[in-house]
């Protein structure tokens, strides 16, 4: 029998890549004095203590409403939950809902009501992707029992990117996540909920909430959600009114980061098949319930298009649009492409940043959308 390979004495000189004189037992004498004491324990204790403080802060403040407690009596920054509660608590019965991401959150429901009968509620939520369209429809009709008749659907290119994850606020809001039927892996998981205790996103929000509480204010000073679901960019509107808002500076800072940071273009090689299935579910649901869908692709600021047009990878957006066109057409819905502002006579100065249009831009989108759909303004005005 061959002997088992080697013992400590057999160790050869090595590959040339030094293993350093920092080894364990045999070379302990060569190790520095400090390494033989317990500095590792101090590092470890500081590490654990810091993370424990962050976790405790997040649990107590609970800024996204993920945990049972709410010791600071604070309204969670979970737009899915907030909007659900608005409809539920105010017993709203909208006939039309606006579904989309933060880019549609500034679309005034009152303006929609000029074109379509009945109450309109803006159910757009942060970072909405295709599964959100379906979950919101289910939440409204099944959970809240509201038989809506119409949906204004604001589709982002990002909503079909396989690389973009679902936000924790969707994953851990029970009433919402149970409708993520095609994604059993996205449903609530205890460990992930626990892991969120030490996420920067939540810690940052907890800190902001805490500071606001200390200063005596309750509301988010930058954003406010109104009763009809409309989001108001309080701080930016104030800056605009004071003449201190500089769109060019905002664009300068953000536009170049967008393709990789937010659109995650390098991972966007094709349409996410699961998200397409969610879209199919959503459109089937609308067909079954006789819900009319008015769909459009949300606009990017021309400065962002300048950058995107210079990146070969952005061709994927054309593929996504073509795929979506086909899918919507199968259900008798026209997807209007408003991704470039020329398509709806938009004004490039009427954006908060590279992707978020101001309400005035939203009104122009609605005017063009309904004009293309052959729906006239009910009060006869021109918006």
């Amino acid at each position: 029998m061959l002997k088992r390979f080697g013992n400590a004495e057999d160790r050869s000189a090595g590959s040339g890549a030094s293993r350093g004189a920092v080894s364990g037992d045999k070379n302990a004498k060569k190790s520095p004095g400090w390494a033989a004491r317990w500095p590792g324990a101090v590092v470890l204790i500081a590490f654990i203590a810091t993370l424990s403080c962050a976790a405790l802060l997040n649990f107590i403040v609970n800024p996204f409403g993920l945990y049972p407690g709410n010791l600071l009596d604070y309204r969670p920054e979970n737009y899915r939950k907030q909007k659900f509660l608005l409809v539920h608590n105010y017993k709203l019965e909208p006939e039309t809902v606006i579904i989309g991401s933060s880019r549609a959150m500034t679309m005034p429901p009152r303006e929609v009501s000029h074109y379509l009968p009945g109450l309109c509620f803006n159910f757009s939520v942060a970072s909405a992707t295709a599964e959100d369209y379906y979950a919101i429809a289910m939440l409204t009709v099944d959970e809240l029992g509201i038989p809506i008749s119409r949906v204004v659907l604001a589709v982002d290119y990002e909503a079909f990117n396989p690389v973009i994850p679902v936000l924790p606020e969707a994953r851990y809001f029970g009433e919402f996540s149970k409708h993520l039927v095609l994604s059993p892996d996205l449903k609530e998981r205890k460990f992930e909920k626990f892991a969120q205790l030490i996420s920067l996103q939540q810690t940052d929000e907890s800190y902001n909430v805490l500071m606001r509480k200390i200063r005596g204010g309750d509301e988010n000073p930058k954003l406010r959600v109104e009763r009809d679901g409309l989001m108001v960019h309080v701080a930016r509107e104030k800056a605009i009114a004071e003449g201190t808002f500089k769109l060019a500076e905002v664009l300068d800072e953000r536009v170049r980061k967008y393709p990789e940071r937010s659109l995650k273009l390098s991972g966007y090689t094709g349409v996410d098949t699961r998200r397409m299935e969610y879209l199919e579910l959503f459109l089937d649901f609308c067909d079954e319930h006789g819900i009319a869908v008015y769909a459009y692709i949300t606009p990017y600021h021309p400065e962002l298009w300048k950058v995107l047009d210079g990146i070969p990878g952005s061709k994927v957006l054309d593929t996504v649009r073509e795929t979506l066109d086909v899918k919507f057409a199968e259900h008798g819905v026209t997807l209007h492409d408003f991704s470039r502002i020329e398509s709806f006579l938009g004004d490039k100065s009427r954006f908060y940043d590279e992707i978020h249009p101001m309400p005035i831009t939203q009104i122009r989108i609605l005017r063009e959308l309904f004009a293309r759909e052959g729906i006239e303004r009910r009060d006869g005005g021109n918006g």
Binding site: F5, S12, S15, D25, G33, R37, V42, V43, A46, F47
Partner: protein, 474 residues
């Protein structure tokens, strides 16, 4: 599973380390194998089968090569001649390993290149296969090849236990992005693990892991946060921005990979294993030869030993040829794209010039000039390496050397400038972890250690936004 995940840091690694020291020493290789396969399967279980195939093939080939080369009683090398059977088994091992690598990593590249040539000649195009690149395949394949090659050349002894060999190939700290260890260094350690986790290993493990985490998340990723948008708009940069993008990427790739390597070595210490040093302050190199002795050392020594020496590096008349082609292959190893090949060729040319000058006794005058000159050459290389196409690289070079254009300014974030200055200063002047660990310096103050712990915790808090390790993609 990634090192930068809460599952790994809070569940997998602590559990693996604690269980490893609890179980009897004879079962540790088995435990390491199971843990490593679980670690790999977490990403995609199907590809763990591929790793198993590589392991079985090379273990079997190794066994047959050993039969031809070693005495079955004493396990000592008995014959110096290369028997035909040993040669056949070695060839089988090489073909199997390189074949897998060629299929998974280079098939798409090969077809795309053929298509480009065909299009140029007016011919048709083949469909480009879309193949998922298995995580860490470049690393574990090289590690496994090393074993059969070393056995054949009588430089290592056969590993008789399949479990020990599987543990050697799959060892989770090294699995995703190296270091590329060798059986003669690692296998004895796996065969004879220490009885207990010593204080020294514990301290070094924690220190290395924390340092790696900080380097990756707080330095590399922060630099990337600022510099990646510049690369995203690479064709429209101003000269100032082009320099910022080039220097930013040079620092990002160093801190990213060095950070990963430190985390791997730290985990090794916590398992009582000594893994090889992978970086030795490469941006402190005085010439390009020195750079390659300091950068990704386990890979450069691999190419030196298994390619350069084999294709004529030791022969006077063939050495330049061998050097150039070794570097071209080294470039190709990094990825299936012409930019990597040209990056390798660029370094090949630099090394050739360096050696020719050295033979003629022409040297850089002064250390600082040498360091600065080498650094600039390396940074130019990173532009080729990072650019999506050679056209992009060319455009960035044009901008970098359009000195009149500096007046146009551009938007280089202050954060990028500040971080780059700090990171470059540390990379050149600061001690690296290995130097730090062997320095007979007085024990660090507790508050300093606590700050390291706090920084590591901050790194964990923000690591959800981290980019994947760059070298894990190679």
């Amino acid at each position: 599973m990634q090192f930068l995940s809460q599952t790994f840091i809070f569940v997998f690694a602590p559990l693996a380390i604690v269980l490893y020291w609890i179980i009897p020493a004879k079962y540790r290789p088995l435990f390491l194998t199971i843990a490593s396969y679980a670690f790999y399967a977490w990403w995609d279980w199907r590809f763990s089968i591929l790793m198993l195939i590589t392991t079985v093939v090379d273990f079997t080939c190794g066994k047959w090569i050993a039969k031809a080369r070693f005495d079955s009683e004493s396990n000592e090398q008995v014959t110096a001649d290369y028997r035909a059977s040993a040669r056949v088994w070695l060839a089988f091992s090489l073909v199997a390993n390189l074949g897998l690598l060629a299929f998974f990593k280079y098939a798409g590249f090969f077809v795309a290149t053929v298509n480009a040539v065909s299009e140029f000649l007016g011919g048709g195009a083949l469909p480009v296969p879309e193949i998922i690149l298995p995580l860490g395949i470049s690393f574990y394949t090289f590690k496994s090849i090393t074993y059969t090659l070393d056995l054949y050349r009588g430089r290592t002894k056969p590993i008789l236990s399949f479990i020990q060999y599987a543990a050697f190939v799959s060892l989770f700290p090294e699995l995703v992005a190296g270091p590329i260890d060798r059986s003669r260094d690692l296998a004895p350690q796996l065969a004879n693990p220490p009885e207990r986790l010593t204080r020294v290993n514990f301290n070094l493990g924690i220190a290395f892991f924390a340092a790696g985490l900080i380097k990756k998340v707080l330095i590399a990723d922060r630099i990337a946060y600022y510099s990646e948008p510049l690369w995203g708009d690479a064709l429209n940069l101003t000269p100032l921005e082009a320099w910022a993008a080039a220097i930013g990427y040079s620092l990002q790739i160093f801190y990213d990979f060095a950070g990963y390597s430190l985390m791997a070595i730290g985990l090794g210490f916590l398992l009582g294993l000594r893994l090889p040093q992978n970086f030795n302050s490469p941006y402190r190199a005085k010439d390009i030869g020195d750079f390659w002795r300091r950068w990704h050392m386990s890979l450069s020594f691999w190419f030196r030993d298994y390619v350069f020496f084999q294709i004529g590096g030791l022969k006077f008349d063939k050495r330049w040829w061998a050097l150039f082609w070794t570097m071209v292959l080294c470039g190709l190893w990094h990825g299936a794209a012409w930019t990597f090949v040209i990056w390798g060729a660029y370094h090949g040319v630099l090394l050739l010039v360096h050696h020719v000058l050295r033979e003629r006794k022409i040297r850089w005058k002064g250390g600082a000039v040498g360091i600065a000159g080498t650094l600039f050459l390396v940074i130019f290389g990173w532009v080729i390496f990072r650019a999506d196409t050679m056209h992009t690289a060319y455009q960035v070079f044009l901008k970098m050397f359009n000195f009149q254009g500096f007046a146009t300014g551009g938007t280089v974030p202050l954060g990028l400038i500040a971080l780059s200055v700090i990171a470059m200063t540390w990379a050149i002047l600061g001690p690296n972890m290995f130097e730090f660990a062997v320095t007979k310096m007085s024990p660090p103050k507790r508050w300093a250690l606590a700050i390291i712990g706090i920084f590591a915790a901050i790194a964990v808090l923000i690591m959800a936004d981290s980019t994947p390790f760059l070298y894990a993609q190679f």
